[in-house]
Symmetry: C2
Subunit: 118 residues, 2 copies
DNA sequence: CCGATCGCTTACAATTTTGTAAGTTCATGG
DNA sequence: CCATGAACTTACAAAATTGTAAGCGATCGG
């Protein structure tokens, strides 16, 4: 999916090694990741619930973002043993620890996100 | 540069209206923006100084990122009246106010950015 | 005056992200 | 057994970001 030989990729790697803030940012960036983290902060949810609560997301992208968040260790996918195919997503402790970061982003946004059209 | 009719663009707009954290994130995202904000936090710098201090960035991208940061209101470009063509970039008060946000990102990164290769 | 440097811009290409549409597999529910 | 829904995947396309290479008009230093 990503070319590990591209300049782009190498630049990102180097940067994450040099700047911890950039590393954190890279984990959070992706169109719906913050939204997903917030929604899952409210409680565990299933794929279809997330889809229903975020109408604009497509199934493809939802699956992609969930997978990346899982890979980053921010959430855990629980497959019910009883009924397979029925699973739910929950925040990992690491995911929960992002709470303050998100709050910080949110605070700044509230103070400065003055929608021009309102 | 950006198609204001694309689904992608519309999704971003809607999201920023709904989630202040996502708005803040969008302002910070861009390969070198954090780095630039940090460097300029140390003091005003000129184009060529920034280029020298961030070897991996290309002039094209440096110019682009500076322009976007300026458009977001995070920094100010000062052209010397005496000698034109000698200008420097400085953080605006808004840019400085991101300090805490960046610190928050950085803290989380320090705690969790465990470089596998070290 | 002349070459070097500064602060960009342009044209182009590669890479990456996001979106569209459809199909697949498995497990209920009736 | 069959339609339905859940949770994806696949193939493809559009859009956005980033990188490569070169050029261009000041201005500076000598």
């Amino acid at each position: 999916m990503r070319k590990t030989t591209s300049t782009n990729y190498l630049n990102a790697q180097t940067l994450h090694g040099l700047c911890d803030a950039a590393y954190t940012l890279s984990i959070l960036s992706g169109r719906w990741k913050l939204t997903l983290l917030v929604k899952l902060g409210e409680g565990n949810k299933r794929f279809s619930e997330l889809k229903a609560q975020i109408p604009m997301i497509t199934e493809r992208v939802l699956a992609l973002q969930l997978k990346e968040l899982e890979k980053s260790g921010l959430l855990i996918k629980k497959e019910s043993v009883i009924k397979s195919k029925v699973c739910s997503y929950e925040l990992s402790p690491l995911g929960k620890s992002l709470d303050q970061v998100i709050q910080s982003l949110s605070d700044w946004g509230i103070a400065n996100n003055l929608q021009p059209e309102l």
